[in-house]
């Protein structure tokens, strides 16, 4: 089944091109009788510019789907196209290049480098893109400014609040101008006020910078920010 919805603000516009597409994707862990099907034939299509929320109980396969979408993992069966690439055929290094060039990650636990300044954390993906130091610095500052952290560049994660840390993580994810931003419960560790701030930030990025966003969340309140919601249950998409 294919979950699809009009994406753009005006229904009169033609549908945007497809960015990622799952076709009958399965993921099996283990072998034989102990085998566990985490994904059981998932079809999924996300167009450029969409803001999609993914919901589902734990164990429903949404994390597995996110890992595959993020090119951190490969499907056991079916196909996953990212733009024109058949991800299931790519090597580990090729997938790393895909992540480096087109994907941004925001994690529930922020996953910033400790004892490393906010600026250097945001610079990190640019280092792996071999961008010269001066340009790296300028772009990292701009990204921090975009998430409202001007003046906090030299603070380490330990010196920042949770909301600020998640802003740093978002800045790190968007500094490379990715085509797709994957957010895994970005507000899971934040209080309600901080959560809404982060959601406003993501909505703004999606609207103003045309960054496609896929966000896993448990909270229906947060899912309301998205254009549409995909529900996972027992390794399948149920809506």
């Amino acid at each position: 089944m294919t979950a699809e919805a009009p994406v753009t603000t005006s229904p009169l516009d033609p549908p945007a091109p497809i960015l990622v597409e799952f076709r009958q994707v399965t993921k099996v862990y283990g072998q034989g009788a102990a085998a566990m099907r985490a994904l059981d034939g998932v079809d999924l299509r996300i167009r450029e510019g969409e803001f999609v929320a993914v919901m589902g109980p734990s164990g429903s396969g949404k994390s597995t789907a996110m890992n595959i979408l993020g090119c951190l993992d490969t499907p056991s069966g079916g196909s996953y196209r990212f733009q024109d690439a058949a991800v299931e055929t790519l090597s580990r290094d090729q997938r790393a290049r895909l992540r480096r060039n087109y994907l941004g990650f925001v994690f529930q636990g922020f996953n910033l480098l400790n004892r490393t300044s906010a600026l250097e954390n945001v610079e990190l993906p640019l280092i792996y893109r071999h961008i010269p130091a001066a340009e790296r610095r300028a772009r990292a500052r701009a990204a921090l400014a975009l998430v409202g952290l001007t003046g906090w560049e030299d603070h380490t994660p330990g010196e920042l609040s949770g909301g600020q840390q998640q802003r740093v993580a978002i800045a790190r994810a968007i500094v490379t101008q990715p085509r797709l931003l994957l957010a895994d419960e970005p507000t899971g560790n934040l209080d309600s006020a901080r959560s809404h701030e982060i959601m406003d930030l993501l909505t703004g990025l999606n609207r103003d910078r045309a960054i496609t966003i896929l966000m896993v969340t448990h909270e229906p309140e947060m899912a309301e920010y998205a254009h549409r919601v995909i529900h996972f249950r027992d390794g399948r998409v149920t809506e």
Binding site: N67, G70, L72, D73, R92, D93, A96, R97, L98, R99, R100, N101, L103, F105, F107, N111, L112, L113, N114, R115, L124, P125, I127, Y128, R129, H130, R172
Partner: protein
Amino acid sequence: MLWNAFLLALREIRRNVLRSILTILGVVIGVAAVIVMVTLGGGATQAVATQIETMGTNLLMIRMGQRMGPGSGIGVAPFKLEDAVALQRQVPSIRVLAPSANQTATAVAGNSSWATSVTGTDNRYLDVRNWPLAAGRVFSEGESRAGKAVCLIGATVQRELFGNQDPVGEKLRIKTMSCQVIGLLATKGQSSMGHDQDDLILMPLRTFQRRIAGNLDVTMIQVSIKEGESTEAAKADIERLMRERRKIGAGEQDDFSVRDMKELTDMLTGTTRILTTLLSAVAAVSLLVGGIGIMNIMLVSVTERTREIGIRLAIGALEREVLLQFLVEAVVLSSLGGILGILLALVAAVLLADVLQVPFIFNGGIVITAFLFSAAVGILFGYFPARRAARLDPIEALRRE
């Protein structure tokens, strides 16, 4: 990328200064030990060679008997002055030779007495041994021919008998003979075999034979070979002539020996070199142990930084970029150990050379080798932990707390 990896490595090392120092201590000690051993060994070898050189180059010693050392000439017919004359005349490669006879005797001057080696010879002895005077004059032609009671003394004899006083012109007594000191020999120091070369009195051979020994024996002939002549050929010539003169039949053993100083040099420096090599090998083992220490800490570091590695992999670091980062860190650590080891070694070698009375000879080759070796240890022992880091599954790594 390499530069970034280098900067990252420096930062990691700075973060754990104490741990880093402890980690590299093994390499520091290993490198230092190797350099100290090789440097001091080189100095000792050099010292042995120099000491033998002070005895005169191209030197052959003709002794009675076959063995080296005291007592070797017992029961063997001694040489005569005529042997020396014949050698000089019939072996053209001989530049100069010095016949000598020797005995241990007590010398007395004023209230002091000193048992020393008394040698009868002539000025050619000084030539052969390449031995200048510190004061006074050598024997005159007349003194040698007539067997006058005059002598030259070594620095040790001068110190024991005359103290700080100028000995030239003073008298000393050996057995019943009173003898005038006409010169003081320059200091030679200890020989490579550890005996004091300055502990001797020289007098004309004729004086020694008549007044001390009471016979016409010559116990040793020292020969200096002409520059550019083969020592081996000269040795063979001398042996042939001496066998003839001493009527040794074909197939019979020599009852004398002709020894080459070069043989002695090679033997002694060879021994020193073997010792140096052995000690250096032991030191090199400690360098390897140091490498294992680095591997251990790098493995700990990879475990501690699993999440960091996961983050790097997730945002697009390639396997080889993570590998390089950890490899560079290990190499920077071990090279740092190498540099500290070199500094420590140079200080220790200078101090120890002074204590052991061995010349300090800076050996640039071993310093560079030791440094490269320490870097190689980093690569060797850093590779396994680095590969482990690079092969981590980013999903698993990110889950780790």
